[in-house]
Amino acid sequence: MPDVARIFSGQESNETVTRILWDIRFPRATAVLILGGALSLAGYLLQTFFNNPIAGPFVLGISSGAKMVVALVMVFLMGRGIRVTSASMIFAAFIGAMLSMGFVLLMSHRIHNMSMLVVSGVMIGYICSAVTELVVTFADDADIVNLHNWSRGSFSGMTWESVKVMTVVVAATFLAVFLMSKPLGAYQLGDAYARNVGVNLQLLRVCIVIFSSILSACIVAFAGPISFVGIAVPQLVKKLLNTTEPILMIPACFVGGSAFCLFCDLLAKTILAPTELSISTVTAIFGAPVVLWIIKGRKA
């Protein structure tokens, strides 16, 4: 801590410490704030969309879908010695997210049972993870370490370059979602009443699907799939603020997600230092009990 203060005030001249802070720690912390917020917001959007408190990018298999396509693209491009840019990673992840989302939507047309929807999401997740594992297993040795770390979810190895890209994407999406708070509020009343007050339901649905997929894609492209943040944080924030108004929930979920992920990332780095835990291990420890508590608290 004193080191950090000294670097900020310009007194510290130790090159190594400065480098570590500027090139490794700060980009990572910034990325955690941005992606954590994005993850939580994606969860909130999906929960609103499906009117289901335990929906989220991870349980619905959207993260895994994104992961699968990213892994395929990475292995394909790396095998040919082509450098993978952040933007193309996000794009690949977005395609994957939309694939899973499309499947979940198809299922939700057939089944109106909320728990079955989650089960089908989890199944999609498993299928995508299996494909990913397969790809990783057959990948070149050099790629494996890289891929393996990423496919378990981790905030390590962030550069300012990727932070820049994710900031632009997430900030733009956040803004767009925030501008939708009014129709989202009406959407919570159910289709009939939303339509009656003049909401264009089809447009709104398409927007929610696309924006939540972009957010999920961004997280997966940079940090891999991270579980439970998307479910747990919006629920905690809701209880904390005692409201479901989107205009408050959207910014609050973002901040809550940032804080939650920063805390989990800190633990992931320090508990077993110098070994680093995968971020999902930590988020699951704190997030899963929240999910159980939500399920328990629900009326049948």
Partner: protein, 264 residues
């Protein structure tokens, strides 16, 4: 089309492309109350949903004044027509006042923040519908009857010219049923509110409506004033009731005969 506030022309309704009722012709003047009656499953809800633009028409046109409803902008329709349906509304952490306030949606700005005027209207409507005492109660934790009154207040808060109600009295006790019908008549006198609703209570339909639409089978069975509907054995016919089944039970028999009659 002239002089009628609400009219349909050859309206065909149904869902999933399955035709349910054909060629409906409804004509209502401003401030008239129309009741839909008919046996369970006759398609009352389907008709109401189609009128409210919730279900696509399978043919024909619905007019509000001179305007074709299907060509109207959603925001404009929202300011002219509001609805109360039977579907359960599941919301979390919303007070009853919040629920009523959602009726102001078409009038608020981009972020949906209520103006002082909106707040006043909400208070006024809650007073008018006698639900001020529910104001701070959690909508999720009140009874079905109370919910129905809140949803009705929400619909009025939308300041419509016409309101479409699906079985608005079903969870209400007798006092609130009558209070509700009184409110509707007040609204039509003060604001010229036109009402289209389905009712299960025939004796209520008889006394509040200006027009009654009877549904059964794939055409409108009958459409007219209460005098025209409640005559001879039509109600028995409409509901497939057989007088003979009741002959052993004097009271039920008398009740059945009395329901089908119109008394001035």
């Amino acid at each position: 089309m002239k002089n009628y506030y609400f009219s349909t022309k050859k309206m065909c309704v149904g869902y999933d492309n399955k035709l349910l009722i054909k060629d409906m012709e409804i004509k209502l003047r401003e401030g008239e109350i129309l009741c839909l009656i008919g046996p369970n499953g006759a398609g009352k809800s389907t008709v109401l949903k189609s009128i409210a633009g919730q279900l696509g028409l399978l043919g024909g046109t619905v007019y509000l004044g001179e305007d074709d409803l299907s060509e109207m902008k959603a925001e404009e329709l929202a300011k002219r027509m509001s609805v109360v349906f039977t579907e359960k509304v599941r919301v979390e952490l919303k007070s009853c006042r919040d629920m009523v306030a959602t009726g102001r949606y078409p009038y608020t700005g981009w972020f949906g923040i209520l103006s002082e005027e909106d707040e006043l209207i909400v208070d006024e409507v809650m007073e008018l519908t006698h639900i001020t005492d529910l104001s701070e109660k959690d909508f999720d934790k009140i009874s079905d009857g109370q919910k129905q009154r809140v949803m009705l207040a929400r619909a009025i808060c939308q300041e419509p010219e016409i309101v479409v109600l699906d079985e608005p009295t079903s969870y209400l006790d007798i006092k609130y049923k009558l209070e509700f019908l009184l409110l509707l008549q007040e609204m039509r006198e003060k604001r010229g509110l036109t009402v289209i609703m389905s009712l299960h209570e025939l004796e209520l339909a008889k006394i509040v409506s200006d027009k009654i639409l009877c549904l059964k089978g794939e055409y409108v069975e009958r459409y007219g004033t209460p005098e025209e509907i409640f005559e001879s054995d039509f109600i028995e016919l409409l509901f497939d009731m057989n007088e003979k089944d009741f002959i052993g039970n004097e009271r039920l028999h008398a009740y059945m005969k009395q329901i089908g009659k119109y008394e001035r």
